[in-house]
Amino acid sequence: MATFLAAGAVGGARKVLAEVQQPNRVHRSKVALSMYRDMPEGEIAIEEFERFAMDRLRVLKGVDDLKAKGFRVDQMQDKVIELYDKHMATAQREEKQRKDAVSHFVLRLAYCRTEDLRRWLISQECDLFKARFKDLPPRDQRVFMEANELPFRPLGRPDFEEVQEQLAQVLLSLGQAQQASALLNGKVPPESYYKVPFEQVPDLVASRRVYLQAGYAYVSKDQMSSLVVQPFRSALSKALVLTARRWAAVVAPAEADRLAPVVESLSQRYLGPDYSDAEKRGVAGTITARDIPVLSKSSFPLCMVSMQQALHDSHHLKHDGRMQLGLFLKGIGLPLEEAMCFWRTEMAAVAPGDKFDKQYAYNVRHNYGKEGNRKDYTPYTCAKIITSTPGVGQVHGCPYKTFSQESLRSALARLQVAPSNIEAAVGMAAAGNFQLACESAWEGKHGCACNTGINHPNQYFEESRKAIQAQQGPADPAAATVAAGGAAAAAAGPPKTPGPAAPAAAAAAAAAAGSGGGATTQLQDVLGGSSQQQPQPDSAPPAKVQRTD
């Protein structure tokens, strides 16, 4: 880690941020929430630069997912706060504000370049801001507004008493009888209400959710969040445009080999578990070619099932399909010899004996890094699969995107997904939320909720195995190792970055070497609490591991 902070690079990250932002006076806020007007002080290690940003990105993507799933803003409130606390937690409290600020500014750099990226960032950041603002107690809200010079002041006692009855009546009309009586009984302090010109809250006026008098709207503190977010949104929007200009003009050339790659890749970064090296994850050698049909029916995602089906029926897959399926199989732990055996058998009708060796064997070995430039290819992520478009006669890509609604329905039915989930999945696919559709199908097949979301076909597979284990009870060491492999894989870090993955990989190797059981707890200690994505089954006492034949 420390090797990254080359002498002279210390403080470099902050300098870069400073050049593209507009630093103002230092501001130590007493409240946890910030308008991000000022840059954080002090040095920022490159490693923090990246890690903080990715944690924040997880929160923002989580917010986006919640919205795509159709949650309304009030329902999302608790979940968003939970997400934030989970990913943005730090060892010390003071650090939390710094992480908040640093991660926000780094994401500004990463998401300023195109209009679409800017719009996405603004949308998620505003929803996050609203949720966090609503979470503040009224006293903190007032401090926040004063500190940021927002022109909203709460009511004084005489004003409040003058309109108390009408405020209660409005609450009643909104169905909030309890709050209405609390207000009438004097249990609500005057600071819970703000008096603003009606022009500033058109949405509240239109739905008659506020009391109006002489051109002023009396807004409750819960409704204030939609008011306070407006200056936040416009400030962020302006800042992003400026940032884009200055990044392109000033910094990108200077930082081309250091920060630019990190920043530019952040927006496409895959944030899920690492499926690159099956050996490291301890799943190598656990699957054989004979297991594949069985596993396909129970745990493969739809994309892999349909490819495996097509391969089986027509004894052939075109190149892209072979890559997608082949790498997936490598990711679930199919070793090279078994893979060769599998492909040879499946394609026997079309490419017997010699022909197979000449045309296809090389590719299989290439996938495993045994030929050519010996590159160890990573199984494709959902994002990559979704963007690939199959042509005529090809079956790769994401079926939620490429299949018609009818084909999708029948395919999911053949997979034994529950009918209501089939409908939900078809609907989400039609709306363009392919990964959510896959998640819905997963839930419909396994009969329980998917805790992690689906970002990778191998993730689907592993979650599936875990769920099946949980339902059957831990049955055999192969399953336990798979679970442990999954645990090791839940590391925060992109594939191929040596730094953070190294200790995790080392621990995983140790775990794989040891017996399945103790590994899980060891791993949990090594990786710490923050980015784990382990549902209950993993933490079941290892003593329950049995051998069944």
């Binding site: 009546q169 009606f198 022009e199 058109p202 239109a206 008659r208 109006l212 051109g215």
Partner: protein, 455 residues
């Protein structure tokens, strides 16, 4: 018609050879032919200009002479020819254009950032050609109430269905003044079957489309029909504005609309009203009571009585909160009926956008010949749409009073138009002028107080 002997009439004719023949009656002439004399002698050019100039018509140092020039007018010429983006240097030029071209209708649009006549030069550059200010406007049309009035349909208007408009005027007026703090509000008869409302405060003129839409939604309760019953955005408990509106509407419903429209007399109407009651039991109970009485007023009494009895029974029988809720729901039926039949039904599209054109006050309706006169909201109930002055009638008056008219004043002062203009001034223009004047004085004070380089 006086009963003078024929000889005297002839004598009168001889004395004033300039006067028109005694049997000329302009009410029989096609409206379009009368537009020329209307604009030259009856249209109150000065007053309309004073309004639209918003104080920029004088010689005060802080006057913005270009303000009026950026206002769009749209003329509808004979034969339905629309001519948009007309703009004029000042009131005199506008008056000359009206007298010259005699449009059958004048629409007023927004004030743009440049003269509408020269918009082509600005489109595509910078901000382009865009509206800067525009009064907040509302349009209420009796045709939207066809399902709840029995005296006629479509373009029909009479003294029996006018109370629906009067109620709308009252509610809008109260809401705009008390809730939104607006002060310069003008209500105008639309000429055939409705009312327009112009809110001319500076704060109102500067509202964005989104804010206008929000205000229109604030007043919107009627949301269309569903299976013969009106859909209303009403909950069990009312927002204070709705409570205030309901208090007014209930009185209007019981005193004027119910009896005059005979809403509980024929079979179809009775069924329609019964549909608002929550269940068959109460419907049957009410129908049984109706067998004994026949007038709408009595039947309404009976309905309310039954509902109240039932509500009290619900309160007593069930557990406290559930019973109270059920009772509220029962009583709400009465509120639903009153609101479905009388709550203002605004045309949302008119209010939503800054660049929506709206007919100007003092236009003449081409089909009825009626003048779009201002309405005093305090006297809304007493306004009679059937006796609104028409262009033919006014010209008739002009003739018979031609002696008075010849004294150098505007000719319309000798006719009923003077009443309409008086309403315009008293209810609207005078207050607006006072505020505008104060605004100019304030600007002058600020300019004087600002530091300058002058010694």
């Amino acid at each position: 018609m006086s009963e003078q002997p024929v000889a005297e009439v002839k004598a009168e004719v001889k004395l004033e050879p300039a006067a028109q023949p005694a049997d000329a009656d302009f009410t029989n002439v096609g409206v379009q032919f009368l537009m020329a004399p209307y604009y030259s002698r009856l249209f109150p050019h000065q007053e309309v200009y004073k309004w639209l100039a918003y104080g920029n018509d004088g010689k005060h140092p802080m006057v913005d002479a270009s303000f009026f020039q950026h206002r769009e007018f749209c003329f509808t010429l004979d034969g339905d020819i629309f001519v948009r983006y007309q703009s004029f240097k000042d009131g005199l030029e506008l008056a000359a254009a009206l007298k010259d071209r005699c449009p059958s209708k004048i629409d007023i649009g927004p004030v743009y950032n440049v003269e509408p006549q020269r918009r082509a030069a600005y489109q595509g550059s910078g901000q382009g050609f865009c509206p800067m200010e525009r009064e907040l406007v509302f349009d209420i049309d009796l045709t939207d109430y066809d399902d709840v009035r029995t005296c006629g349909r479509e373009g029909h208007i009479c003294i029996k269905c006018w109370p629906l408009m009067a109620a709308a005027i009252k509610i809008l007026d109260a809401g705009l003044r008390q809730d939104f703090g607006f002060q310069h509000i003008l209500f105008v008869f639309s000429g055939r079957r409705g009312v327009h409302c112009w809110v001319c405060d500076e704060r109102a003129r500067k509202l964005t489309d989104e804010q206008r839409s929000a205000i229109a939604s604030y007043f919107a309760v009627y949301k269309g029909q569903e299976r013969g019953v009106a859909k209303l955005a009403l909950g069990l408990d009312d927002h204070p504005a709705l409570a205030r509106a309901y208090a007014l509407l209930k009185g209007a419903f019981e005193d004027r609309i119910l009896p005059e429209q005979g809403l509980l007399e024929d079979e179809a109407q009775r069924k329609a009203i019964l549909a608002y009651l929550p269940n068959d039991a109460i419907r049957n109970a009410v129908e049984r009571r109706w067998d004994g009485v026949s007038s709408s007023a009595d039947r309404w009494e009976a309905l309310q009585d039954e509902v109240e009895t039932e509500a009290q029974a619900l309160e007593a029988n069930r557990k406290s909160s559930e019973g109270a809720r059920a009772a509220k729901a029962m009583r709400k039926a009465v509120k639903d009926i009153v609101c479905a039949y009388t709550y203002p039904r605004l045309d949302m599209e008119v209010s939503k956008k800054m660049n929506h054109l709206l007919k100007a006050p003092f236009c003449v309706h081409p089909k009825t010949g009626k003048v779009c006169v201002p309405i005093d909201p305090e006297a809304a109930w007493e306004f009679d749409p059937e006796t609104v002055c028409t262009v033919g009638g006014l010209l008739n008056q002009l003739n018979s009073n031609s002696a008075a008219a010849a004294q150098g004043e505007e000719p319309w002062r000798a006719t009923d138009m003077s009443q309409a203009v008086e309403t315009f001034r008293a209810c609207f223009l005078d207050a607006l002028q006072a505020e505008v004047k104060e605004g100019l004085a304030e600007k002058l004070r600020q300019a004087a107080a600002a530091p300058t380089l002058a010694w």
